[in-house]
Symmetry: C2
Subunit: 332 residues, 2 copies
């Protein structure tokens, strides 16, 4: 976030950095200046026009209403308020106007898996009218935080240079019981689980993709079936998307739309080896889209493969975009 | 294959091992006995009742008709004859009876990605009537042969113990231009491509999943949309399956069917961490199924996550099962 704030056009006056009390006094650099970190308290929030919350869900649930009660507009990247009907859920490329209607003084950001696909899917929806989504995610380790990246790197060191991966459980035995934030080893493996168990066997992450996509696109009845699978990639989520529309689609028109939509890079020429992969996309801002195909059995359905950096557009970047939109109200 | 033939009930008389001429004279062990490898020739095939072909597509295309012309029943694991209307495409758990009608004297095996999902999906089809499949595959490196496994292992050695995977192209630069049989680095990455480019942007692998599934299930009009993505796993393919049926489904009934279907292991209790992963499934025979959910928006649709060893059920095992079925004709 500090990197993004430093790179974007500077719409801010003072920037305060606030963290947990044990980080208070640390110095961090933003916009080329050293700033001392304040411990989270009511006083630290006093007088702020906009507060960007990049904190765990339970911290946001407690502190966002406190900040909002002081007249501060809170932009929250956590899941705490995403489903709240009085909190707009915003992806600026799609529904920037929703920022202005915020009965609780809070604006929420979708989660990283939704953000990996929604800019591309939203652009196609505007033209063709979305009626159904079936998505399978290839989620990077950093979606589970620093602990996820550390676990993946540690496990890779244990399996690299070995002949593991050919006998049942050999990777599990090499990695041991401590699989970090993942319920099974991630090195040389894929793990079809992320989040907590919800009714009907769904994971919380899968239900969020459904709920967030419906809310951002303002399609409360949209059919969405999501499967979230963790893969041994450090950063950048990928999603295989089957999207069905109300109107007939063509690959040529989908290409035109994607090539001209803000926040999207069309990278789709398999003959030249051009399709997005996490290793090429990580560290960049846009949603990359490739493998655009029309279903052979349904002229209203498209397949896409999308990739986006889950730490940039998937979190900090989207929150910064929302905050910049809000900031414009104060300077206008 | 030699391991499988040695482990299964011995329905064979003589077993000849035939390979390319440069392997002639090598000794291999099958059923506990050393057998000398013969070079491929018309004479080597002479007098065989059944010939199991585990060879590249072009070798099968040339030699299967030669063997069949001698009265030998050819069981071919390659893609050479899968789409031929005069060649049955057989998965014994589903359509064993089709083995008997073989106008060309050849019986074909589906590819490894189809075989990862078809036993489970076929069992559900028998009960509910399949109408549509949307599948996203998580394909292991060994699907691209030994070169694929070697490339993955080599790449993992280059990235393990590093901080790579956070900047655009850093993995690509570390791995270099030689990415083996894959069109991009596979370590710390996923690659949404396997096979050759076909019309409409589809890969050959994706079209095969569609064509083979339709043929095995005898549903020539089935709607199938497949996306094939390579993941950094040594062996065992996984598939995220969205299956829509003609009749209403329940998770309870799907569980009953899957728990009692031959060749399937139901492993579905996320509360206990039970769902299939390639690392647990590799080296085993069955199709493992977990994450069974009914769509929240469609009471005729199920989501499943299936895993199967692409070198066992995905290739040698299915071919051996077909060959054993054929052999029973000769001993009956």
């Amino acid at each position: 976030m500090l990197q993004i704030l430093s790179q974007h056009a500077d719409v801010w006056g003072d920037i305060r950095l606030i963290a947990s009390p044990r980080s208070a006094g640390r110095k961090l650099t933003v916009r080329g200046e050293e700033v001392e970190v304040l411990g989270l308290s009511e006083e630290a929030l006093e007088g702020a026009d906009v507060a960007l919350f990049l904190v765990p869900e339970e911290v946001a649930a407690q502190w966002a209403p406190i900040a909002a009660a002081k007249g501060t507009v809170v932009v929250d990247a956590s899941a705490a308020f995403r489903a709240d009907p009085d909190v707009p859920l915003v992806v600026p490329e799609i529904n920037r106007h929703c920022v202005r209607v915020r009965p609780r003084g809070i604006v929420a950001c979708p989660g990283d898996t939704t953000l990996a696909l929604i800019v591309a899917v939203g652009a196609l929806h505007a033209e063709f009218g979305l009626s159904e989504l079936v998505v399978s995610a290839y989620q990077a380790a950093s979606g589970a935080g620093r602990g996820g990246v550390g676990a993946l790197r540690g496990q890779l060191s244990l399996v690299a240079g070995t002949e593991l991966g050919t006998c049942p459980g050999d990777v599990r035995r090499a990695v041991g019981d401590d699989t970090g934030p993942f319920p099974a080893p991630l090195a040389l493996n894929v793990v079809p689980w992320s989040g907590s168990l919800q009714e009907g066997g769904w994971s919380s992450e899968e239900l969020r993709v459904r709920g967030e996509t419906r809310k951002v696109l303002d399609l409360p009845e949209l059919r969405v079936a999501a499967t979230c699978v963790r893969v041994p990639v450090v950063s950048a989520h990928s999603v295989s998307v089957h999207a069905r529309f109300e109107r007939e689609v063509t690959v040529a028109r989908a290409h035109e739309i994607l090539a001209t939509s803000p926040g999207v890079v069309l990278y789709d020429d398999p003959a030249s080896g051009d399709f997005p992969t996490p290793a090429d996309v990580v560290g960049t801002d846009p949603t990359w889209v490739g493998r655009v195909r029309r279903s052979l059995d349904d002229d209203r359905a498209l397949e896409l493969f999308v990739c986006g950096d889950n730490l940039r557009k998937g979190a900090a970047l989207n929150a910064a975009q929302i905050a910049e939109t809000v900031a414009a109200e104060f300077t206008a």
